[in-house]
């Protein structure tokens, strides 16, 4: 049985050995690690969207010919 304990300092999740293998635990923890790493980010959603749009525009400009029909 998986249990969760929390206090002011930390949240402790206990997973009995045999219920999940370490690879599964790693996969589950990955999003938490990512969230923890970027927790101090000051990037706004608007700026994130601008960067995403610029990235897509650059990629599209270089690759659109790959999806275009052949020249007649």
């Amino acid at each position: 049985m998986i249990t969760v304990e929390s206090d002011d300092a930390a949240i402790r999740v206990t997973i009995p050995r045999g219920e999940l293998d370490i690879a599964q635990v790693e996969a589950i923890l990955r999003p938490f690690r990512f969230a923890s790493l970027v927790a101090g980010s000051q990037m706004s959603k608007a700026e994130a969207m601008r960067i995403a749009e610029d990235s897509k525009a650059d990629w599209w400009e270089k690759n659109e010919r790959r999806f275009a029909p052949p020249e007649a």
């Binding site: 990955r30 999003p31 690690r33 990512f34 790493l37 970027v38 101090g40 980010s41 000051q42 990037m43 706004s44 700026e47 994130a48 969207m49 960067i51 749009e53 610029d54 990235s55 897509k56 525009a57 650059d58 990629w59 599209w60 400009e61 690759n63 659109e64 790959r66 999806f67 275009a68 029909p69 052949p70 020249e71």
Partner: protein
Amino acid sequence: MGEERAALRPAGGVADAGGGGYERRLQLARIRLWKSGHAAALSLGNGILRPAFVELFKHRDRLLAATRLPEDKLLEALNELLESLQLVEAASIPIGIWMQARRLCDGVDMKDTPVRRIRHGPSSSAGQMRPPPPSKAPVRKRG
């Protein structure tokens, strides 16, 4: 499937980019591709096209400036992100899957629906928002 199609259809044929509807349509498109059972579609369900990651790296200075995170922390986050993603070779995705993605995302940002070019021809401009064409042009395949 009926519900998915209804949600994916742009209201009044007008593109709805940036709002909840747009996100929902993309999400449903991924679900639909996932359900199709094709290996490439499965990859698209939780994957990313390889060049997209290169583009992300190009903007690393902007990411550093905007997040104000230390570089080592941002790189560590990037590593976690890479571990979570399945990189997909665009060339391995059959034309039928591209067409299906295009159909499901009809009316949204053209940069998210690259196969739109196949149907609309070379005069289409990149990144332009546009409603679906009034008539059904024949599909042209490469080669």
